[in-house]
């Protein structure tokens, strides 16, 4: 039962987020490399809606610090070459901290995703009499994800930016009774709309 609830949560979170914004145009869209640079790799597509924003000015230096929070639904595909493939759907809450005059920023992110791990090749079952063969067989896992990163805006209008993010996640419950921890690197190219 709880798995179904989590499944729906992971699927509906991005859509609900978009719906809450009244189907407005997102504030940015992005495409990322997602992987560990060695064993598994893939991509992530996402769009972000700004939920809150505020600017603080430091009294002594007069510098302004901008903090923005975004809802970022995302779709990911990654896997091991010739191995299992993963599709992941969910959303992140992303907090960006940036100098008002500067181009560089840093970010913190927390997300919840539904993960479908697809088996390689055919999957076989045996019911005591017959062997069954099926393709595209998958299992569903819940993946909480935390990330931090750094980015920099480019261009005179600062519409494009590039960010490097470092993820720590847990795939759960993986193999019956434990969450499988993992790490990933994301290189994101973002375009402000």
């Amino acid at each position: 039962m709880y798995r179904n609830v989590l499944l729906w949560l992971c699927c509906m979170l991005p859509l609900a987020g978009i719906g809450q914004q009244g189907l407005t145009k997102p504030d940015f869209v992005s495409a990322s490399y997602y992987g560990d640079l060695l064993i598994f790799s893939g991509f992530k597509l996402s769009a972000g809606w700004e939920l809150a924003s505020k600017t603080k000015t430091r009294k002594r230096s007069g510098k302004a610090i901008g903090k923005s929070t975004y809802l970022v639904p995302g779709l990911m595909n990654f896997g091991i070459r010739q191995g299992q493939k993963n599709w992941q759907l969910g959303a992140d809450l992303e907090r960006i901290r940036i100098h008002s005059k500067g181009n560089a920023y840093r970010l913190l992110q927390a997300g919840l995703y539904g993960n479908w791990t697809f088996n390689s090749g055919p999957t076989y079952t045996y019911d005591g009499t017959d062997v069954g063969e099926s393709y595209g067989t998958s299992r569903f896992y819940v993946v909480p994800d935390l990330a931090f990163g750094f980015g920099r805006k480019f261009g005179s209008q600062k519409l494009v930016d590039l960010a490097a993010k470092f993820h720590a996640y847990g795939k759960m419950p993986y193999n019956s009774f434990f969450a499988l921890p993992g790490f990933a690197f994301e290189l994101r190219l973002k375009y402000a709309l």
């Binding site: 090749g121 076989y124 393709y135 067989t137 299992r139 193999n175 019956s176 009774f177």
Partner: protein
């Protein structure tokens, strides 16, 4: 919005469905993965080599906590030229995954995993395919449990037991005796005296007349690997071992984490496993391959296993310059023995 979601879902499904090869790779140089789904677990098996031969050697890896592809080395690549070699992961190890309770992480359930694998291979490559199970170390424990269960052995054409542990209490007692024998000899010869004295002190402290606790069993295993490395008689692997390409089919970090959890969960059951008095049920051809200087699974288990099986077609081969892994220490002789056995009974 709904229409866009449907298009996206169809696109995803299409990529997944049509990205799979639906026909078996029947060739002299096959390379494919199949997955077994049984009692909540999805377990990959990697098929390499000559599937056109219709002869399959299924390697049941050691551990618990190992993985199938770590067994792909020089010896198995040579065997792949003549036969197909299947490197299967096991429940909770390697790249296997799934949803099941702790109650489903037992030797008995893992035996049914093997049964489904063997039936799947016959379904995919033909009912006339000859299957040989080759279990190493813990894979020999699991293989022994498979062989004595019901009538399952008759799915196979032969069983190759490589330094396999069919009786852990016997193993622990035999290892202690071996440590003392070798340590006294090596200390007298003034070779690696400090380490051998440590091993001798440990072995002398274990009371083999009583049940040996799980924690001591773990130390016996640990010293087994160390002791083997101290002996000049054991040849180091002179052939390229391991499979660099295998890293692109399996995540080693995932395998390590899964394996450690699973090994800990299975430990108590494994330490109590004793199948010697059931080996008489085994009727199919058997080949026992053993390193003479194996402290991890001592040669005593080779002789008791060989004597206990009910098969009349059986052979025991000792490798005089090997420890726990004769496939690496004496690969050439190992390949020859496997080939002659498979050719005789395929």
């Amino acid at each position: 919005m709904r229409k866009q979601f449907k298009i996206l879902a169809c696109l995803v499904l299409g990529i997944v469905m049509f990205g799979c090869n639906r026909t078996a790779d029947i060739s002299e140089n096959a390379q494919e993965t199949i997955t077994i789904r049984n009692q909540g677990a999805d377990i990959p098996a990697y098929v390499y080599g000559n599937t056109a031969s219709k002869t399959f050697i299924i390697i049941v890896h050691g551990g618990p906590g190992g993985n199938g592809l770590e067994y792909r080395g020089y010896y198995s690549k040579e065997l792949e030229k003549d036969y197909a070699v299947v490197y299967t992961d096991q429940r909770g190890q390697g790249s296997s995954h799934g949803h099941y309770s702790k109650d489903d992480l037992t030797i008995d359930v893992m035996v049914t995993d093997l049964e489904v694998l063997f039936r799947a291979l016959k379904d995919r490559y033909g009912a006339d395919a000859s299957l040989f199970m080759m279990g190493h170390s813990w894979g020999g424990t699991l293989g022994s449990a498979y062989m004595v269960k019901d009538d399952l052995q008759h799915l196979l054409s032969g069983w190759i037991e490589v330094d396999g542990a069919h009786d852990i209490p016997m193993l622990n007692r035999a290892a202690i005796g071996m440590y003392i024998e070798y340590a006294e000899k090596e200390i007298a010869a003034n070779r690696n005296t400090d380490k051998w004295q440590e091993i001798l002190d440990f072995a002398s402290s274990v009371d083999t007349s009583k049940e040996i606790p799980d924690s001591t069993g773990g130390r016996i295993n640990q010293y087994g690997h160390e002791a083997e490395g101290l002996l000049d008689e054991v040849w180091q692997s002179d052939s390229a071992s391991g499979d660099a390409a295998g890293i692109f089919r399996q995540n080693p970090l995932t395998s390590l984490i899964s394996g450690n959890f699973t090994s800990g969960q299975l430990n108590a059951e494994v330490e109590a496993t004793s199948l010697t008095d059931q080996l008489h049920k085994i009727e199919i051809p058997c080949l026992f391959l053993w390193g003479r200087h194996d402290f991890v699974v001592p040669p005593r288990l080779a002789t008791t296993g060989y004597q206990a099986v009910g098969s009349t077609d059986k052979k025991l081969v000792f490798f005089e310059h090997s420890g726990h892994s004769p496939m690496d220490n004496e690969a050439g002789k190992y390949i020859q023995e496997v080939q002659s056995f498979v050719e005789a009974y395929k």
